[in-house]
Symmetry: C2
Subunit: 160 residues, 2 copies
């Protein structure tokens, strides 16, 4: 059976994200998976995702680091509790802080490989390091701190 | 005469950016201006720029910090040389690093006010601090380091 993406376990109220929500029809619909102890997502930028001609727009790269990071945080939260992503209670994360280093311009054209590694799971907080590979070259490094969504906000969304 | 946006001084090869290029028809077309010693840009998110329902997608917020930051860097570079943005030689900047702290969820609906303040202009490098205000509340703080585009890359773009 093919592996299900982290984002495909998100409940309906979490599936509208422009970056990774399966219900956001105009969004990027990023899909992240485990690959051993690392996580990976592949993304094909559109021709209009330009920074300067021939290179990928930095805001898109930051967005990929963001959504792959929160996805990785969720997956890591379940792994830390030694349970599957479809078990209760659900663990949902939001980005608290995001850092992106643009090491060199990222060529626009090839599929981008977004990779993640969990640095720490501590209480409600997960730290993830990430990097983007294109043509075998690391062009971007990122770091993200995600925090579990407060129950009060989940309640508000469910009533929404 | 109304003030011209920083991005409207960018030459053609710099005007395709998805975040702020005036020639990118599907992009965000961000426009940044001086307001005393600070810079400001206003942006109306689209209904599909969702994170969780009712709140703005973090990747868009990072993108606004990115493009308003490089725009501010360019404007600051000219100010440091005490000349107007339409004078030669042109100064163009790319993001070297981007840091974004999401202080609280940003409500989706109102116009966002993206503000910037130049921290340092040092050689080819400009540091900018930024924040996003919505409904009178600061929801995001960011910091960006931009570097002047190398002449070799400009040459490549002009030949491209």
């Amino acid at each position: 059976m093919p592996q299900k993406a982290f984002q495909d376990y998100y409940p309906e109220y979490f599936a509208h994200c422009y970056g990774c929500g399966s219900l956001n029809e105009v969004g990027n619909q990023l899909k992240s998976f485990w690959e051993g102890d690392e996580t990976v997502a592949y993304f094909q930028p559109k021709p209009y995702h330009t920074a300067i001609p021939g290179y990928v727009y930095g805001g898109l790269l930051a967005s990929l680091i963001d959504c792959h990071g929160t996805g990785t945080a969720a997956a890591a939260g379940y792994r830390a509790e030694n349970r599957e992503m479809d078990t209760e209670p659900p663990l949902r994360y939001l980005t608290a802080s995001l850092h992106v280093d643009y090491l060199k311009p990222t060529p626009l054209g090839p599929v981008l490989e977004v990779r993640g590694r969990v640095k720490e799971v501590k209480g409600r907080k997960v730290s993830v390091e990430e990097w983007i590979v294109v043509n075998g070259m690391v062009t971007v490094r990122g770091e993200l701190v995600a925090v579990q969504v407060p129950e009060s906000l989940v309640k508000e969304l469910l009533q929404g």
